[in-house]
Amino acid sequence: MRAGQPAVSGQKWGQIRRNWGLYVLLLPAVVLSLLFAYKPMYGVLIAFKDYSPALGIGGSPWAGFKYFDKFFHSYQFSTTIKNTLIISVYSLVTFPIPILLALMVNQMRGNRFKRFFQTVSYMPHFISTVVMVGLMLILLSPSSGLLGSVYRLFGAEAPDLMGSAGWFSSLYVWSDVWQHVGWDSIIYIAALSAVDPSLYEAATVDGASRWHKVRYIDIPMLMPTAITLLILRVGGLLGVGFEKVYLMQNDLNITSSEILSTYVYKIGLLSSQYSFSSAINLFNTVINFILLILVNQISKKFSENSLW
């Protein structure tokens, strides 16, 4: 930010002084970020300390990598990592579905149907996570839910999906697809609407079929957007959200539903082991960060797309 030449520097100061109003506009966001995003980053230090509230972050004695060691050797280590990875890789597999939906919407001719279709497909996105999980519990209940009724129609007994460890990841991932596929497709629909119509016209003249146009115009058009989003997704591979998993968790499915973020919450806030919890959290963040950089690097090398 500092300019080498004093003359340029003076010019910059002049510009800053002239535009002081802009810095006033930035001030609230900067202050809030400093207080609630950057200050906690300093707090990450407690992962390396035997934190005691009485002594504070600075005063607590150093513990080195004790808590990381404790985590690596705990029986929850492999379970939480495995569960986290299974859920996130599984979600990654569903990544192309919104793209398929966008390609489909783009093929629709009737404008009214198209609009109706889109309106309805976004709707579930606005349902809160609590209601979403509540819905699943109600609909999938083997005794009083829709699932139970369907099974009884065929004279069979419904399985307790929400209370089974084997079903947890599938329920998590596919309910997410159900809820967000329409919404996630908007960005691709927007990208497709930017295609120059003359491209299609030229393709028609050359005798291209509908499928050809999708294959050679639409899909390449979507690639940059898709790759950018994919990088972000892979960068968050270990960052599976706390909210929904925590709500879906119960004693029966805990063996496959305990993930890093729920474990951090339980260790930290429910049993007040602040340093241990922060160590697990930091481990998670660092891996995410490395993954993000790695994937971005790979993408830079093999395609033109990267985040920076």
Binding site: P40, G134, T228
Partner: protein, 283 residues
Amino acid sequence: MEVLLYIFAVLFLIILIYPLYFIIIASFSDPSSVANGKVWFYPKGFTLDGYTELLKHKNIWVGYRNTILYTIVGTAIGLAVNIAAAYALSRKDLVGRKFLSLFFIFTMFFSGGLIPTFLTVRDFHLYDTFLVMVLPFSVIVYDIIVARTFFQTSIPGDLWEAAQIDGCGNLRYFFQVVLPLSKAIIAVLGLWIAVGYWNSYFNALIYLKNPDLYPLQLILRNILITNQMQSGMGTGEAAQIALRLASMMKYSVIIVATVPILCVYPFIQKYFNQGVMIGAVKE
């Protein structure tokens, strides 16, 4: 080919709509009919007991009031903070623009994590206060990026040059020229933020202790997921009735919590598409 496409589309719509439709008809039906699998296409044993029972539930009202307050105040703060920052960052003549952008974007990828953030909030004496629900996490970097792109592409730079010549300062220009031209982006971000507040429960779970401050979602969680309704209701016939009412309330509570947000969104949907599109444009 064409026919296949539409068949698939209609199937897709049914999968999306039916579960929601089922909740609606179940909320008006006799719970034993629902449990026995008699409710499929329309309500059976029509009753409003679920709703009347819900109205008697004091917690719901407290939660509703709190959520409305959090949503209004939180959205106002969020809009003010993010729109202002986004506009400043959109100006090419802002010295330190690159650094400031990075300052915000870094927080998207790296954070202190749950415990350090919790300790920070507690140190500021925000734990268990109204303010913790609307202030600390109101900077939303993604929204800043979307709004910044909007300002860059929709507010012509010449306008500022002209205003400057007329002796107009940055602040007056922002409030009197930029904001009136930016209704679309204000609508989009406003709704995004409002939906976020309406639906959020994580902050309440972590930072609130006092039930009088609980937002609707936390109360919903107690009714829908942790089944706190059913515990400690005694035995025998009274318990049976309580259980019946609780199962009825599950449907009506979903409707009552979700309908307001679903009602607003079709009106503002066209702005939504615009907003996402703006967000998709790379700088």
